[in-house]
Symmetry: C2
Subunit: 364 residues, 2 copies
Amino acid sequence: MDSRIREHAEILVDHSAEIEAGDNVVVSASSAAEPLTLALCEVIGERGAFPFHVSYRTDRTRAAFLRGIESDALDLPDHELALVEASDVWIHVRADHNVADIAGVSGETMSAFRKAHAPVREEILDTTWVLTQFPAPANAQNAEMSTEEYEDFVWSAIGKDWQAQYEHQQQMVEILDAGEEVHIRSGDTTDLTMSIEGMTTINDRGKNNLPGGEVFTAPVADSVEGEVLFDKPLVHQGHEVEDAYLRFEGGEVVEHAAAKNEDVLTDVLNTDDGARRLGELGIGMNRDIDRFTYNMLFDEKMGDTVHLAVGRAYDECLPEGESGNDSAVHVDMIVDMAEDSVIEVDGEVVQRNGTFRFEDGFEG
Amino acid sequence: MDSRIREHAEILVDHSAEIEAGDNVVVSASSAAEPLTLALCEVIGERGAFPFHVSYRTDRTRAAFLRGIESDALDLPDHELALVEASDVWIHVRADHNVADIAGVSGETMSAFRKAHAPVREEILDTTWVLTQFPAPANAQNAEMSTEEYEDFVWSAIGKDWQAQYEHQQQMVEILDAGEEVHIRSGDTTDLTMSIEGMTTINDRGKNNLPGGEVFTAPVADSVEGEVLFDKPLVHQGHEVEDAYLRFEGGEVVEHAAAKNEDVLTDVLNTDDGARRLGELGIGMNRDIDRFTYNMLFDEKMGDTVHLAVGRAYDECLPEGESGNDSAVHVDMIVDMAEDSVIEVDGEVVQRNGTFRFEDGFEG
């Protein structure tokens, strides 16, 4: 076995999920991730915990099910919910045989499925959960890299000094936690303001996402005003949406467009009321992720980007006891900030053209 | 897709499990069974039911876990139990990448695992459960057949007229239900008596096992006397046990031996008290299974065989409200009845040299 697979498993178990003896762990992974699944089952066993291997999000089996069922027969699957409720840790390993396997399912069916399934996803977010990537050949292909190049890319981004990364990111956390209004401008196409007053900024150091490498918070739901063009493509359920555009008034999307697959974006926005509002503002800070790979888990962590998600907010960003924007979806979209772009917090520039105020080469 | 895969899925869903709209279904299968898993997810969806794909018994992930954990850390995994408790139907598809993947795990660890896991297995038996086989290459290899030959063998045994098979078997059910004492003799090596008074005989027509094709009941636990040589090999956890021999007194195994891997047999018998008593008497009646394939799901259904299982009895064989022999194991072993053999019920010969009293060529 490639020693990096064993290392990947150990980081997931010991750093990300901090698995302890007696923990009930679900390893959710398709057969394309088999080497990592096996390493995980062994390491989890070594810690005295109990792995259960499921293929919760294997898109090929899910697509087969959704080809079969009528949309209006979709309902909450109690047995899946019961499994999650009784689990302490949920590790989901992304790895595909074909990243487009879900593409044959209609947007309407996918929306109905997401709605029916929402309580299961909610419950997963109440476990200690981790999302990671195994560098399967189909994912390398999707990234336009050879499998060997992609293995290097993935495992370099994962096998980092996470304490050093935490400290780097903490500088931005402090700026956002002290701030109230965020203003994002990029070229002629993006000019967006939002309040983050009272919200908490999370320092993502490889806990829920491996690799980590971003800071994120939740916008005040009604505060978002202006327009944004997501100039990096978004891949949703196997469909690539290009140049997604959203215009907000009073926090709500009042206009949208896309250069390619606009109907996919429309289906997302029509899922429920919360799908038309922002649930997340994220700022990429992982300088080891140095190229786009059409994979949000990596792309959103890039140092020269900002990402916004329509849909559900993360509870950890919200004031104690307050519920944020709620939705069955959470769909991230990326703005490239490398050129002709600024992030301002309360009127002060904190990033210009991708360089942060606390980094070398910043021009204020 | 081979149309026989779709047919296999439909028989499982409609005949074996009788899945209805709204059922919560678990499809437990390794990646070696992927074509059937996909067909099952689609057909289950068509019926308006909800498939959840897990790899509960993928021996490679289980072996990895058991390599990692210390025997004394093994415990009941609550999340697996919760999943089963909330499930209506459990379909387990056998299919291996390597039938010996579990062989590296010690008998002691396997015994500890089986004990810790017993409540999960009990709960599965309370669902509508089906066990079947997908003809994966490693299973064909184990059967000493080409993959194509093995596909023909498996799908011929499965794609039967199950109503006709039921009627054929019912003749033997009536003999056993009316009988009290069973006497099995084969050559000089097997001479065993047991009482089946008050027990119910089950007509296996492809419900819990696909293929089906046997009738079985539970011996009265204390009534088994005599000796038996299982002249067909038993494959247990990847180890082949040859010429297993058991001698019973007062229902209990008081002596045992095997020509090969006797220690595997010893570990089974030492699991718990119930592992030293018989839980099942089964009589194979499927004439379409015409050769041994080192796979109990098929071998025990052959027309010229009797099988006995040490360990747990099936509740359905027992008088209402009575609990039968209890154990964490249920391990079947086969006696070849083709030559110099008889089955007697209450002193009357009901099978001689593999031919039943109600079949052509019977010599009373």
